[in-house]
Symmetry: C2
Subunit: 279 residues, 2 copies
């Protein structure tokens, strides 16, 4: 990758512009884009895609297989530096560490193991032949960039999110009481999904903690995504499930299925949610 | 932590001796113990506990909350160096990076976010009130350090593993065909479980890929464990489930429940399994 050139930015869609990295091979610069925020905080999946794009500019493998990030503090929008440290170069897997900072202490650190996802072919074994039933896209609730509470969700100008009404009760004052959220995810500008987009989609729905009645930012401590196959063009079905909320922390699993009903990504995060004080 | 002193090694059980680290605060040394291997490879959960003990010697927090490791190459038994880099010191969460090496390139890198687990109290919400039903310990199959195939599983000299017969078919030539494994885990010397032991327990059962008929070492690419509560004394119930095996990779979730039926740890790993060639 020549100096000063963007790494693996082959399309001119909003997501690719917002995750562009320059420089390399070890030290990259990027702009944390104000278009991919919730309130004033950049989305975690967006940051994961940004960090992974820098890593892919260094390792000699085309696709992320497993990306594990710990979030240290929310970056501001604007210039950021990404330091990539190669850890291993292998025939089937290469691994690098990425540290994101903004002229100060690290804000995010990620381990990226990369390899080659296969274009197609049947799985050797799978638990489920497809995602759980979701209503058709047109019967789901479109994500609203302008929330009644006043928070601007800029990322919804770019991400086309359609929530299953069965798990969107928190937006109508009737949370389901379960750590569950389901919906469809795509890009408004029609960009096709690829592994970097799956990193974004794995953290695109509102936090499942909303359905526990906690309508607040859920700070992510750790987020890991496994990429399992190259996604087909079309909508992604995202299914969030958590097991336990205690002591201010909850877990959230995301399964991402492509338009052909294949499991293409699996994510898990540990995030914070405090029980609201009685009024 | 004074120089030359072991970090947080408060008990003289085999597990604590095998995960002892010396030196600090940034550079630690340890012995990768030959007693915690499968064949000639150290167990992944054991290595995770070793790395986390070094991190806890540096961060000002008592317990791991989330530990994410990428495995670069299997360490040999014998001396190892662990380099700990503090990334963030916070009131509720502090994070450090640990790099394990043996006089050469990194072999394992881990991100450890630590905080304080609460001793008790009910969860705010939980999906399941306890683990799925497991047969009583005495009706389960004890793990055998000496395998018929000749591989010595030294770690079973220390870990008391009892497999649910329903998911142990692979040892009798009748694998279930599903990515599932269940069993009880304890220490032969009676050491009580704590968060470090949970890191070990989360990777203590045979790989679920055995039940797909792949009776081979399953190299772990990435392993993340969330610690959710301080475990009660007694047996740990470990429940493994995977979703997908394709292109040589499978995912494996581990839920660890304590003797009081509380979910105390959640793990997920991406590991390799190749379909055996027809004879």
């Amino acid at each position: 990758m020549a100096d000063g050139q963007p790494a693996r930015t082959t399309q001119r869609h909003a997501f690719d512009l917002a995750t562009a990295v320059r420089g390399g091979p070890r030290s990259w610069t990027a702009q944390v884009d104000p278009g991919w925020t919730i309130g004033d905080r950049p989305n975690g999946g967006y940051l994961l895609a940004l960090a992974t794009r820098a890593a892919l500019g260094v390792v000699e493998q085309p696709h992320p297989l497993a990306v594990s990030a710990h979030f240290l503090a929310p970056p501001a929008t604007g210039p950021a530096e990404l330091e990539v440290t190669p850890l291993r170069a292998g025939r089937s897997v290469s691994t690098a560490r990425v540290t994101l900072a903004q002229d100060g202490p690290p804000l995010l650190e990620a381990l990226v193991s990369a390899g080659r996802l296969q274009p197609d072919g049947p799985p050797d074994w799978q638990r489920a032949a497809g995602p759980p039933p979701l209503p058709p896209v047109e019967e789901c609730l479109p994500g609203q960039p302008d929330q009644p509470g006043g928070t601007r969700i800029n990322i919804l100008d770019h991400l086309d999110v359609r929530l299953d009404p069965a798990t969107a009760g928190s937006f109508l004052g009737r949370p389901s009481g379960r750590l569950e959220m389901r919906g469809w995810v795509g890009f408004h500008d029609g960009r096709a999904p690829d592994p970097l987009a799956l990193l974004q989609a794995a953290d695109a729905l509102p936090p499942a903690s909303f359905e526990l009645g906690v309508l607040a930012w859920a700070p992510t401590v750790a987020l890991t995504v496994y990429l399992r196959a190259l996604p087909a063009p079309g909508w992604l079905a995202c299914v969030l499930n958590g097991q336990l909320w205690r002591d201010g922390w909850f877990d959230e699993d995301a399964a991402v299925w492509d338009a052909r009903g294949r499991l293409v990504a699996q994510a898990r995060q540990l995030a914070g949610a405090r029980r609201p004080r009685p009024a």
